[in-house]
Symmetry: C2
C-alpha cells in the first residue's frame, strides 16, 4: 500500500509518496506563490489529482492521503485555521480534498501533530508511545504523543506551548503570543536582543552595528558563536526558558523523548546539552533521569513524513 | 454488577461498594494506626475479604475491585511506592490483593488518577473526556484525563505537577520538591508565611504571635480571612502560582474542566474567581475561553469514587 503525504507550509507544498514501510518513493515541492484562499485549495487538489493519476499510470495506486497544515485542524468541522495563508481562517480543506480523491480516504492534522507522528515513525523518536516535538521557529508549538495517540484536547488546540507561563510577574507583552514564545521563539530571541541593545547603547556588540530593528534570530546565533556579549546574554536566557519548558513536559507527561525542531534548531542544536542541564534542575527527577532529549531526525521533512504516517494510520483505522 | 472501591490514605482506608450506576451502597473506613509494610497489606486484604464475604451473605456479589494508593502505582510491576506508608517503597499490592480476591479482578492506580476518574464519573467533571484534577494538599499533584484515558507517561509518573517550573531564577529550595509545590502547596504556603515573618519582624501580623515555625496553612487562611497583611501577601502570591499552573494546563491540554481539590481547597475555595482571573492573563485565549474551572464535587470521597470507577472500567475491559 502506498500513501501520499502533503505538507502545506506558508510558502510551498511538499508532497511525498511512501510505501507502507515508510520508504520515501517520490518527493516533490510546489511553490504557493501569491495564492490565497481557494486558490491554495485548488493547488492542493490539483497536485493530489495529478499525483494519483501519475501513480496509476505507473501501475501503483495511492490508498490514503494525509495533509499537514500550518495551523489548527478542527476534527469536528474538518476545517482549517492557518494564519500564514491568506483567507484560511476557516477553510473546508477536508471536504474539498475528499471531493476529488475518488474515494481515497483523506486525513488532515496540524503541523505540530504531524511533526511528532513523523519523528515517531521514521525520525529520532522511533517507536516511542510518549513523546513531545517542541517546534521552535518564528513561534513555538508542541506536538504531543500520549500512549501512542496525538493529544488533541477538547478544541483541537492542545500543545499551545508558546503560552506556557514561566516568568513572574506577568508582562503586558505576553498577552499577544504567550510568555514562552515572547522570550524564546525565533522572533522572541531577536526581540530580546533589540531590547537589550536599545537599553544599553554603551554595549560593544556585533549586533549593535546593524540597525537595531533589523536583527534576526540567525544573526543572534552567529554573534553568539563569535562570543558576542549581548548575543551570549540573549541565548543564555533562551536556554533557561527552553530548559524550563523541557522540565515542565517531563514533569507533566513523563515522556520517553523530547525532540527539538523548527527553524531555530538549526542553529541552536549545539545548545542541547546546556538545555538538558537547565532542565535537570527543574524537572521531576525520576522522569528526567529516564527521558532523552534530542533534535529532529527528519528536519524539514518531519511534516511530510508525519502526513504520510497520518495517511497510513487513517487507512489502518478504516 | 457491584464493585468495591478502596482509597488507601496515609491514616485510613476508605472502602465503598458501588452499583454499576455509581450509587454508593456501603461505605466504611478503617484506621491504619501504627501499621507499616506488610501489616498495611494485611489490613487491606483482610478488609476486602470481609467485604466480599458480607456482600455474598447478603445475596449480592462484588465483581471488581479498585484501589487508590497515596503514591505511584507501576503498571509494569504491579508494585506501589507510597512515601507516607512506612516500608512501602516497592510494595507488591496488586499480587497480594489478587491472591485473596478469589478471581475477582483487581486494579490499582495512584490517588491523583483516581481523583479525576471519580470527578469524571460522579463529580464536577462528569462526562468530560479531557479534564485535570489539581490536588493541592501538603504536596501538589495532578490527575490528568486525555480523551477519556488517564495520562500515565512512560514510567507511570505523569502529572508530577508540583515540579512545574514557574518562577525564574532557579532556587536551591526547589530541588527537593519542585518550584510550584515549594510556593503554593499547603506546606509551601505555611513556609512562605514563616519566611516573610522571619525577614520582617516589624510586621504586625496575627501569624507573628504564634511561634514562627508552628504556622500551618490553615492558620494562614484564617488570618487571610481577617485581612492580616502577611497572610494576604502569602495567599495573593499562591493565587498567582495557581493561576499560572491553570494557564499551563489550559495551553498544553486544552481541557474541558480543571478541578481543584485536596486539603487546601477546602479553605481556598473562595479564591477560585481570583485564580481564574490570574490564569486568564497567561493562558492560550481560545482554550481559556472554553475551559471551566471548578472545585471537587466529591471532596474527601474523590479517591474512593475513583477507585470504584477504576474497578468498573477494569471489569468492562476484561
Amino acid at each position: 500500500m502506498n500513501v501520499l503525504g502533503i505538507d502545506l507550509g506558508g510558502t510551498k507544498l511538499a508532497c511525498a509518496i511512501f510505501s507502507e514501510n515508510g520508504d520515501l518513493l517520490v518527493k516533490e515541492t510546489v511553490a504557493i506563490g501569491k495564492r490565497k484562499g481557494p486558490e491554495v485549495g485548488s493547488l492542493i487538489t490539483g497536485t493530489i489529482v495529478d499525483l494519483i493519476d501519475r501513480s496509476l499510470s505507473q501501475g501503483t495506486d495511492i490508498r490514503s492521503i494525509g495533509i499537514s497544515v500550518p495551523g489548527i485542524f478542527s476534527s469536528k468541522t474538518g476545517r482549517v485555521w492557518a494564519p500564514n495563508i491568506e483567507e484560511w481562517t476557516d477553510y473546508p480543506l477536508l471536504s474539498e480534498v475528499s471531493s476529488v480523491s475518488g474515494g481515497i480516504p483523506v486525513a488532515v492534522d496540524s503541523d505540530r501533530a504531524c511533526y511528532i507522528l513523523g519523528e515517531v515513525w521514521k525520525g529520532n523518536a522511533r517507536g516511542c508511545r510518549d513523546a513531545v516535538f517542541l517546534s521552535v521557529g518564528t513561534g513555538i508549538g508542541a506536538g504531543i504523543m500520549v500512549n501512542g495517540e496525538i493529544l488533541r484536547g477538547s478544541n483541537d488546540i492542545a500543545g499551545s506551548t508558546g503560552w506556557m507561563a514561566l516568568n513572574r510577574p506577568f508582562r503586558e507583552e505576553y498577552a499577544a503570543c504567550g510568555c514562552f514564545e515572547y522570550h524564546a521563539s525565533g522572533s522572541g530571541i531577536a526581540m530580546v536582543a533589540r531590547e537589550i541593545l536599545s537599553g544599553h547603547k554603551e554595549y560593544d556588540s556585533i549586533l549593535g552595528k546593524a540597525a537595531g530593528d533589523e536583527i534576526t534570530s540567525r544573526e543572534v546565533f552567529e554573534a553568539y558563536d563569535k562570543g558576542d556579549k549581548v548575543a551570549v546574554m540573549v541565548i543564555k536566557e533562551a536556554v533557561e526558558y527552553w530548559g524550563m519548558a523541557v522540565a515542565n513536559f517531563v514533569s507533566l507527561f513523563d515522556p520517553e523523548k523530547i525532540i527539538f525542531g523548527g527553524g531555530v534548531f538549526g542553529p541552536a542544536v549545539s545548545l542541547l546539552p546546556d538545555i538538558a542541564e537547565a532542565a535537570a534542575r527543574w524537572a521531576q527527577p525520576v522522569s528526567f533521569a529516564r527521558v532523552s532529549i534530542d533534535v529532529s531526525g527528519l528536519g524539514g521533512d518531519a511534516g511530510v513524513y508525519g502526513a504520510g504516517r497520518l495517511a497510513l494510520r487513517n487507512a489502518e483505522n478504516q
